[in-house]
Subunit: 309 residues, 2 copies
């Protein structure tokens, strides 16, 4: 069994490549970013092509190491903010790359299974409480719209052309090697010696935080199991909502020393107040969320201090 | 006021260009297909660029005749059958071209209004009775999926970047110069002297038939009126359902002579049994459907006989 990971050089991608390789899988990757030989060997990545997800690169990867049995498709836009500044770029990275991938699979590897990373952003800003997979998608940002369009395309190819596809809507993924967003920004400021942090928003925003180590285990488990339905969608969230204020509190305590956190009350337009998964479908899988939030955050702080020493 | 028509060389496009020009508008176009000078003048098309909907062609068109006040976007895939044979081609023509258009408008002509042709195919095959615009989209074919993705992208740009956009979901458009589908096929066979026609399906399939002359009037009216909402969706159907058997009967009577029609009973997979608009929203516009079906079909038969003489 050969696994391909698109976007293998990203935050989730690197963690996923390593886990699959640790499980003894042959892992090949394609996406943006140079990975030199030493790094490639360290990641246990059998092959890496630095480039666009397009027919010529996909065929080149197949020539090097054979057709894939499963593709874990993580490539795509990765920032709500950037998608607002450069919407066509985000469209192109998320929707266009998926269109080229699906067409190549249809023509060249129709028995290959697909695990596709989508986002809770497709639900938008109008839900409170836990959101089941059947909820009507109401994305707000271009990023969310493009992820929803990507899902639509996956559904079209699965139903119309029989490609076995699982879409995983990831919630708030955090962990070592994530060098952006709330936790990263807070650590940077604490490291600079700030002791009175003022954060945006109200602090009451609720998210479904999941540790990267659990997330890649979920993706790997999905990739390795037999799938009945041609097309399925699964929430990649644990179902527990935690406010930004609680997260900030856990993080400052993990950091050590005295620090206070206040909130500006200025809410980013379109920022959802609550994004929490109905986690029933994922709990029915052979999979368990293992890393509790305090431990995950403590590990993140530890990694940050090591990483920036 | 300068109007641009993308896909201006297609069945709807050519009819729309002529109507807008007859109303005294300056009409410029972009899309696939060579239009020579004599034809361009006859269509009263001020400018025509034969090529992709992309930034360079859009900018070239603007250099020739100024920025558009309204773009009527008709370019895109035009066949359910072809979308099944070549899904990436259909994606590229429908979704990709719209992405490039919206991005160009956002950057270069943000005050330009957009009238975008979508399709009843986005509703899919699971409805009976009249379908309101709020019905959940459940497309079946790649063509329908891609049109829905296109709508999604329009919504994203309208809500996120303020582009004034009206999406019109066209139902079963027929009329002079349509050289494919049921009416064309039947006329061809009657012209060859067949008098016992066997058609696919059951004959009970219901469609909302609208004459091209009414359809382009609807599109032109929408383009010329002030629009309140940033983004709106309107069914381009009259709200009356007519079965294929009834249409076939009207057509054979219009043709003259004796001919019988039978149905094979073999239904194309995914072919919706019923696609009829809830026409309330369009009836609330300053617009009236004027051409009754028997007259429209009789005119089509007349055109066919002239055209193929």
């Amino acid at each position: 069994m050969t696994f391909w990971v698109t976007g293998g050089n990203g935050f989730i991608g690197r963690n996923l490549v390593r886990l699959l390789a640790d499980r003894g899988r042959s892992v090949h990757g394609l996406g943006h970013g140079a990975i030199d030989e030493a790094e490639r060997r360290q990641l246990k990545l059998a092959e890496w092509i630095n480039g666009e997800i397009d027919a010529s690169n996909l065929s080149a990867l197949a020539e090097r190491g054979g057709l894939p049995s499963t593709i874990l498709h993580l490539a795509g836009g990765s920032s709500v903010g950037l998608s607002i500044q450069q919407p066509y770029e985000d469209f192109s990275r998320t929707v266009n790359s998926t269109a080229r991938l699906l067409e190549w699979v249809r023509r060249s590897a129709p028995n290959c299974r697909l695990i596709v990373a989508s986002s809770a952003a497709i639900y938008g800003a109008s839900y409170s409480g836990s959101i089941p997979e059947e909820a009507e998608p109401r994305p707000v940002s271009p990023y969310g719209h493009h992820k929803l369009m990507m899902e639509q395309l996956c559904r079209s190819y699965a139903v119309g052309f029989g490609l076995h596809t699982t879409v995983v809507r990831l919630f708030s993924v955090y962990g070592a090697f994530l060098r952006k967003q709330l936790l990263w920004d807070m650590c940077l400021r604490l490291q600079r010696g700030e002791r009175e942090l003022v954060l945006g928003g109200t602090g009451g925003e609720v998210r479904d935080w999941v540790d990267i180590r659990d997330v890649v285990k979920l993706l790997a488990n999905l990739a390795e199991r037999q799938q009945g339905e041609k097309f399925q969608v699964i929430n990649g969230g644990c179902g527990a909502g935690t406010t930004v204020a609680e997260i900030a509190d856990i993080l400052t305590k993990s950091w050590g020393g005295q620090a206070s956190v206040r909130f500006s009350g200025v809410v980013r337009p379109g920022d959802p107040f609550s994004l929490v998964a109905d986690g029933g479908k994922v709990r029915a899988l052979p999979f368990t969320w293992e890393i509790p939030l305090p431990r995950g955050i403590a590990d993140y702080v530890h990694w940050f201090k090591e990483d920036t020493r």
